[in-house]
Symmetry: C2
Subunit: 567 residues, 2 copies
Amino acid sequence: MPYRAPTSEYTFLFDAVVGFDQLAATDRFAEATPDLVTAILGEAGRLCDDVMAPLQRSGDLQPAHLENGVLRSSPGFPEGWSAIAEGGWVGMNAGTDHGGMGLPLTLATAVNEMMAGACLSLQLAPLMSQGQIDALEAHASDQIKEIYLPKLISGEWSGTMNLTEPQAGSDVGALRSKAEDNGDGTYAISGQKIFISWGDNDFAENIVHLVLARLPDAAPGSKGISLFVVPKFLPDENGNPGRANNLKVVSLEHKMGLHGSPTCVMQYDGATGWLVGEPHAGLAAMFTMMNNARLGVGGQGVGAGEGAYQHALDYALERKQGRSASGAIVDHADVRRMLMEMKADLFASRAVLLSCAHAIDMHAATGRADHAARAAFLTPIAKVFGTETGMKVSETGVQVYGGMGFIEESGAAQYYRDVRVTAIYEGTNGIQAMDLVGRKMLDGGEAAYALIDEIETLAESARSNHPNMTDRLWQANEALREATDWLVTQEDMQNRFAGALPYLRAFARVLGGYYHLRAAVADPEGPRAKLARFYMSRLLPEYQGHLAAATAGADGTFALSLDELRA
Amino acid sequence: MPYRAPTSEYTFLFDAVVGFDQLAATDRFAEATPDLVTAILGEAGRLCDDVMAPLQRSGDLQPAHLENGVLRSSPGFPEGWSAIAEGGWVGMNAGTDHGGMGLPLTLATAVNEMMAGACLSLQLAPLMSQGQIDALEAHASDQIKEIYLPKLISGEWSGTMNLTEPQAGSDVGALRSKAEDNGDGTYAISGQKIFISWGDNDFAENIVHLVLARLPDAAPGSKGISLFVVPKFLPDENGNPGRANNLKVVSLEHKMGLHGSPTCVMQYDGATGWLVGEPHAGLAAMFTMMNNARLGVGGQGVGAGEGAYQHALDYALERKQGRSASGAIVDHADVRRMLMEMKADLFASRAVLLSCAHAIDMHAATGRADHAARAAFLTPIAKVFGTETGMKVSETGVQVYGGMGFIEESGAAQYYRDVRVTAIYEGTNGIQAMDLVGRKMLDGGEAAYALIDEIETLAESARSNHPNMTDRLWQANEALREATDWLVTQEDMQNRFAGALPYLRAFARVLGGYYHLRAAVADPEGPRAKLARFYMSRLLPEYQGHLAAATAGADGTFALSLDELRA
């Protein structure tokens, strides 16, 4: 049951739903013509189908491991990385100054998601490099850029991000790693970092770590953190990997899934590093990296869900059981329901993801604040909705397989195990939701209302052709507006936080309806409209439950004492 | 982080929610006094806490395996089985004629769930025996009962059920295993069976297989299936294990979870068996076994969820992160929300489970048809709600742990992996839902309306003391009534089936509200009422989304062609 990258889905979304043509109309992305987009998607699709998808099981069955302190990646992964690097896919969104393709993030997001569906473990490696490239482009000195960016973009070197420490997870400000000035423009970095994805590999010439640490005079908390670039091998005068740095992989975690991707405990013992950006401004720089990474993780969720859907559908078409039109289980109503839910949710979450990327691109191309605000607002939604869809779809995929879904050989279980981490890393989904109702609504909800207004406008203009669907969406959107009114007037932030994730889920549900309606408008008699109707009648209505929870306030959430919780 | 069996939760549920006193008022269960119940729960709790819980990780890390065709169970499992057997827990619900305790199923369900929370893999072994004991008590000849029941009840022997074949899963009627009359009162059984839980072990003297097979003159489909008892060792004239039968374990499945429980491929090559019940009436006999097993699997879901909740709560109390009242993450609003949802859902699903068992017991004690109808109606709901709660709670448990949840050492991931199968075996959750809206509503919805009327009555009587909660419940219940009206008038069964699982979920949500309200009535100012309010305001409202999907009909579900699903 091979994986087929959903290239035509992207073409449709670009054309009919997220407005890719607006990007191509800017100077910055003028080269991103429909022909180029088609060519890129086709080329990336072949990489996914032919090179990456065959590695999916190998990564699970033969995990990355340490041999005498040396990391050995799963069989085929080095060749897979080479193919990704040689295709230019690591640097597709990077600036052309240092060898990147300079493509819109919207297109890069699509390619990343396709790669995630093919082989999530391997795809995480270029995703980490991309985040690092973003951060260095935005914050590093020209000298550092010259040394690192060309190698990272070409894939000769790979990148990691080092935030977490045992006592500092979601609360990054609690980290203790130290940086001391060596007086020669370098710093000595010491400390332990955990949960470092692809902290080492056997396919890049050099591994470049971006490490958060504290300078001696640093303030406590998140305002005293600086960012350093700390390579595994110190570049020599020609920029080639030279002497080994004082850092090592201590151990690998034994994880529930994503076995092909080594999760490292890293030890820095006075390792040589260079400051990126200003002293004590490391968290802001790291957030550049994390913002795009959050979008990337949302894409991992959707990608894994796509893989799970394709496998489940293939099984449902093949598996004969009971009496039905075709004899296959796909003709049983409950199985068909599951497949339709999977497909409708994948469409919705993918559209949110691409709309977020589109806003980021439009901001990059125009500098307009409204695009920046939309990008900031959609980022946590894209992360949560993408990863929750990935979990839900992969869980449903196991269910479609029945008993075989619990057997590892079917591959269905791997999607379910692998995708689970996406709701956790790059900021747990709870943290994302707090970001949404906190920081992202400090504007009084302006970005939220802009979307709600836009949805209302579409619902009204599409009403005559799609009365039933638009009525449902209009009602949901009005309920969302009322909940937003309630939320932005809550002075006690606990009231927002206690309903944060339900509010995010409701917003995602309504956004999904918005994009489904756009698809229906573009294809009013065809399968897009049919899928949209299914979504509006069966999935959109979930917003009601979410909004009830979103506006219930914090009192009930904290009603039980700790002893009562324990009882 | 030890597991503590939730004995006081059961005491409360028995006393205040499910009406255990009605059972004790019958002749049949007159001995089940409050003192006895307390003693039983205490004794079982100690077994769970001290003996079974320590085996949870060992089963995962050192799975059952075959050594030269001989099954070796996980370390400590043989001792665990002995403790279960010696405590009399295998036969707690079995008749006293053959050594059972004759306890109400309501109490046995509680004990089974506690054991499932302690160690799901091991608990599956006695659960299988219990199902077999039920089937033999109901259908076997006196001679078979005399030989098998005392040994099964004492735990000297263990039992399995053999239904599934590679081509016959949910469609049991497609099975091909053969039984030929040996002319001496025995039959020669031949065929391959798959997914046989605990198909062998190294702790029982004998393994008794109940096997479905076809006699030579059998009709095709499910009307031509007979049930046979096929022991691993043929009993000698004294009833002791004698000559080895012609059957073997071919292989074990490599599963996502539940590693401590071996899932066997069994081969029968003219194995000697004895007919149980009438020829060609095997499916009915097997359904006796499966009915209680479905309830048992619902309890597995709740039990695993309880284990996941306790671990997540312990972690949330210990893990310091960020700024909060205690410094621990339990004081973060989103973490508290997760824990409250877990606790509220565990209460609701446990109450449904016990109410179902209570109806079965009341039918056994009184023979009244209304109790039988209620038991039949609640069984699929208890199975689905229990297992979906187990999945949701264990998924949330992983989330509470954050990054550590994805690391196997934390134990959170094991609950998530293990519990996943409960939504599949003993009839997938989709099959359960079809049973509910199909067979279980052939009465025109009588059993459904009886519950809905009962809920309405409580909502009205409790209104003055709990106006807000009862309003919410009353509205949900009326919406459920309307959806039920719609459902029972659908002549086209596809319309019912396409909404079957959402309908079941809505019914479960409303039932959960019903039992929470009962708890609040019993404890109007205390933690029970607080938890009930949380449930009513935040979880009950999910019924709206479910009912929308339940009544959307089949047209939209089948709107896409197979090619369009694939596109």
